[in-house]
């Protein structure tokens, strides 16, 4: 018995030894791609996501205050030392032109902070102390308001959840508790759910339109099949921007569709076909359709006609044969196609921005908005984090329903 066991162990070792070369070769083959992905993809993404909670530039800008405010109990106003520290810090920060950044970030938590800091910073030489406490409160009574100090204390920590909370329509209240923002301020939840809703709708539209095309392609002779494939891939031959803009030409008030409908007397005044949700659906479905058709087509190609024939010969009507025999075998293709379309749709930016109205913008639009216009990277990456978590959890939920390992991507 033990001899056999020993034999087994040595066999295992021999096998490992024999397989080692192969393993090293395999690693060698994937390592360039792995390295490129790591350096140019995973690390930047991780850094970007980290920005959503990173707050280290704040304690760096006001180092003494950040240090001393930790001792503040949160009740009443801080002591003289803290006031002295903030005046010192502001003097330096003002010279280093960092006060604007600090003001902007604190203003995000409490409106009014930006103007308070810039005003104080401009006239910092007029504030003479000690005691700095009284001097500051005399200068602007906001310095005597505990709310401002609570925000300051929160805002000078190394990390902050402020932006992530904001991306989910949450905030801190005066007692440092996490609460929902009032309804009139809440926008992100509705933007995110709109994004998901549009993406699901596009996925369903692509499936409805793509399934028959894929079926026809898979069951037609090679010539027809190639022609259809070229027509389908034609979408990729022009830039996304041109394709989207051409939809505006087609769908606008005096565009091709409206002109035709008016000319043929079906309608009297142009229909609103673009710069609304309808335009977004049309343009996005058009662009994303190939991603549904290709995996479906490749799965359908691999299903022999004999299965449906067998079902028919066994007594099933063609519709029964389709539903019970053909459709279940296309599920891996449907899964792969739906996933590709859905995930791409979630991140769409340029198409809704061009052909959608203000109420059709998706999360990516706001990411771009915060980066380009507000220079608020924390907020942009927080929206990214929320989107990523959402996509990930949908993927996992979906993966439990349809075995992901079974899916065929192209």
């Amino acid at each position: 018995m033990s001899e056999q066991l020993a034999d087994n162990i040595s066999l295992k070792k021999k096998l490992q030894k024999a397989e080692r070369r192969k393993k090293i070769e395999a690693l060698g083959l994937i390592s360039p791609l792995f390295f490129v992905m790591l350096v140019f993809f995973f690390i930047p993404i991780a850094l970007m996501l980290y920005r959503s909670i990173d707050n280290s530039q704040m304690p760096a800008a006001l180092p003494q205050t950040a240090d001393i405010i930790q001792q503040w109990s949160g009740e009443g106003l801080p002591d003289e030392a803290t006031y002295a520290a903030i005046v010192g810090d502001m003097r330096i920060a003002n010279e280093e032109k960092k006060l604007g950044m600090v003001g902007r970030r604190l203003n995000f938590d409490l409106v009014g902070y930006y103007s308070l800091l810039s005003k104080t910073g401009r006239k910092i030489d007029e504030i003479k102390g000690p005691p700095y406490k009284e001097a500051l409160i005399n200068f602007d009574k906001k310095w005597g308001d505990t709310r401002y100090w609570t925000v300051m204390e929160r805002g000078l920590k190394d990390k902050t959840l402020l932006y992530l909370l904001a991306a989910m329509d949450l905030k801190y209240d005066e007692n440092n508790k996490i609460v929902k923002v009032p309804e009139y301020e809440a926008i992100y939840i509705s933007i995110i759910s709109r994004t998901v809703y549009i993406s699901i709708s596009i996925t369903i539209l692509c499936l409805i339109l793509g399934f028959p095309i894929a079926y026809y392609m898979a069951n037609s002779p090679p010539r027809t099949r190639n022609l259809l494939m070229i027509i389908l891939l034609l979408v990729f031959w022009t830039s996304l921007l041109v394709r989207t803009l051409s939809w505006i030409l087609v769908l606008q008030n005096n565009g091709v569709v409206n002109n035709f409908l008016m000319f043929s007397g079906i309608i009297n005044q142009p229909l609103e076909l673009v710069f609304n949700r309808f335009g977004v659906y049309v343009a996005m479905t058009h662009v994303l359709l190939p991603f549904m058709v290709l995996p479906l087509y490749s799965v359908m190609r691999s299903i022999p006609a004999d299965y449906v024939r067998a079902a028919r010969s066994l007594g099933a009507k063609s519709i029964t044969a389709f539903i019970r025999v053909y459709l279940p075998q296309t599920l891996p293709g449907i899964g792969a196609g739906a996933l590709m379309v859905f995930i791409q749709a979630l991140g769409y930016y340029i198409t809704p921005a061009l052909v959608g109205g203000p109420r059709d913008q998706m999360v990516s639009y706001f990411v771009a908005f915060f980066v380009n216009e507000r220079v608020n990277w924390s907020m942009a990456s927080s929206l990214g984090v929320v989107l990523l978590i959402l996509t990930g959890s949908l993927y996992l939920m979906f993966g439990k329903k349809v075995n992901i390992a079974n899916m065929k991507l192209g």
């Binding site: 024939r309 028919r312 010969s313 066994l314």
Partner: protein
């Protein structure tokens, strides 16, 4: 016999896929109830097309197919009630063995308890009851074959079609399955239409064999008749091994012709589809029907030169040069007193004149 007594009849059936070439030309075939009929032929001979027309997956371009005396050209496949076994089994991969077998019963709206009994019985028939919960992907080729067979039979069809069902199996398993299918057929009494290109399989299993070539049935006969009495040179060549000698008919005496072979030697042969003196003919002789003699002794005997000897255990294959044909094969049974031949030896051979069939070239 009137039409009513045939289970299946093809009447002047033609089939063309492209409107130019006829894949099936004027097919007439009657199948009796309970018979095992094989459509045998090389690939592209139209046999599978015939089967597909019978199953309803292809429509006849012209002509009529009768099933139980009624034309079925316009009946969709699912209403024909014909079981079918496909070449690659076509077991539904997403259903277990039990679900596969229950499928034809469920679509017929048979009650659940009854379905269970019928599925069990069908699996019992092919000795696969233990595999009811397995999926097709977990079965070997032979096991899949049995399940496919059980599925085609589970709803008690009167007619079962089989399209090269054993093509993907290895030789040993194939032979075993041949007997099994044969026995199941005998036990159930269903009519079977079987398509194959393997003539040994056709001979083993069938009551009747329809040999297809070039879109028409060359001969419809029992295995024995087909082998012993081929009606034309295609059948003679296609079924079993055959020696062919070319010659011209010199004299006719009732149904026996005297044929002058290349090189001038004259032999007697049974006339099959040749008619006139002076006609060119091909003589066909089975290798095992050739008799070896020490030396040519009478006029119908001819000489041959031994070119090659191959020892095959139960028999010895001898390749000879006979009347200008150097591929003339003689099979000698390996009995205790068989002739001892040497390569290069000149010997006399002969045959019964009924074994030598004069056919149109």
């Amino acid at each position: 016999m009137s039409n009513q007594e045939f289970h299946v009849s093809f009447k002047n059936v033609q089939k063309s896929y492209d409107g130019k070439i006829l894949v099936v030309k004027d097919l007439n075939l009657d199948i009796e109830k309970g018979k095992f009929v094989t459509m045998l032929g090389p690939s592209g001979s139209g046999k599978t097309t015939c089967l597909m027309m019978l199953a309803g997956f292809e429509s006849a371009t012209s002509g009529e197919i009768l099933f139980n005396g009624k034309p079925i050209n316009k009946i969709p496949p699912h209403k024909r009630g014909i079981g079918m076994v496909f070449q690659n089994y076509a077991l539904f991969p997403h259903m277990s063995v039990g679900e596969n077998l229950a499928f034809p019963l469920q679509v017929r709206k048979i009650a659940k308890p009854e379905v269970e009994v019928m599925v069990k019985n069908a699996l019992d028939m092919v000795q696969m009851v233990d595999f009811i919960d397995r999926y097709p992907g977990q079965l070997s080729g032979g096991q899949k074959q049995r399940i496919a067979l059980a599925r085609a039979l589970v709803f008690n069809p009167e007619l079962v079609l089989m399209d090269e069902p054993l093509g993907a199996l290895d030789k040993q398993l194939r032979e075993q399955m041949q007997y099994e299918i044969k026995h199941i057929h005998e036990r159930l009494g269903v009519s079977v239409v079987y398509v194959t290109h393997d003539q040994a399989e056709a001979l083993t299993m069938s009551d009747q064999i329809a040999v297809f070539n070039d879109g028409i049935i060359q001969q419809l006969a029992s295995p024995e008749d087909l082998y012993e009495r081929p009606e034309n040179s295609f059948i003679a060549q296609f079924i079993g091994e055959n020696n062919q000698l070319r010659g011209v008919i010199e004299k006719i005496d009732k149904n026996i012709a005297l044929v002058a072979l290349e090189g001038g030697k004259k032999v007697s042969a049974l006339m099959v589809d040749v008619k006139d003196i002076g006609e060119n003919t091909i003589l066909s002789i089975r290798p095992e029907r050739v008799i070896i003699k020490p030396r040519a002794s009478n006029s119908t005997d001819i000489d041959g030169k031994v070119l090659e000897l191959i020892y095959l255990g139960d028999h010895i294959r001898c390749r000879m040069m006979v009347a200008g044909n150097d591929e003339f094969i003689v099979k000698m049974p390996n009995s205790s007193n068989h002739a001892q031949l040497k390569v290069g030896e000149e010997i006399g051979i002969s045959w019964e004149k009924e074994d030598c069939r004069a056919l149109k070239p």
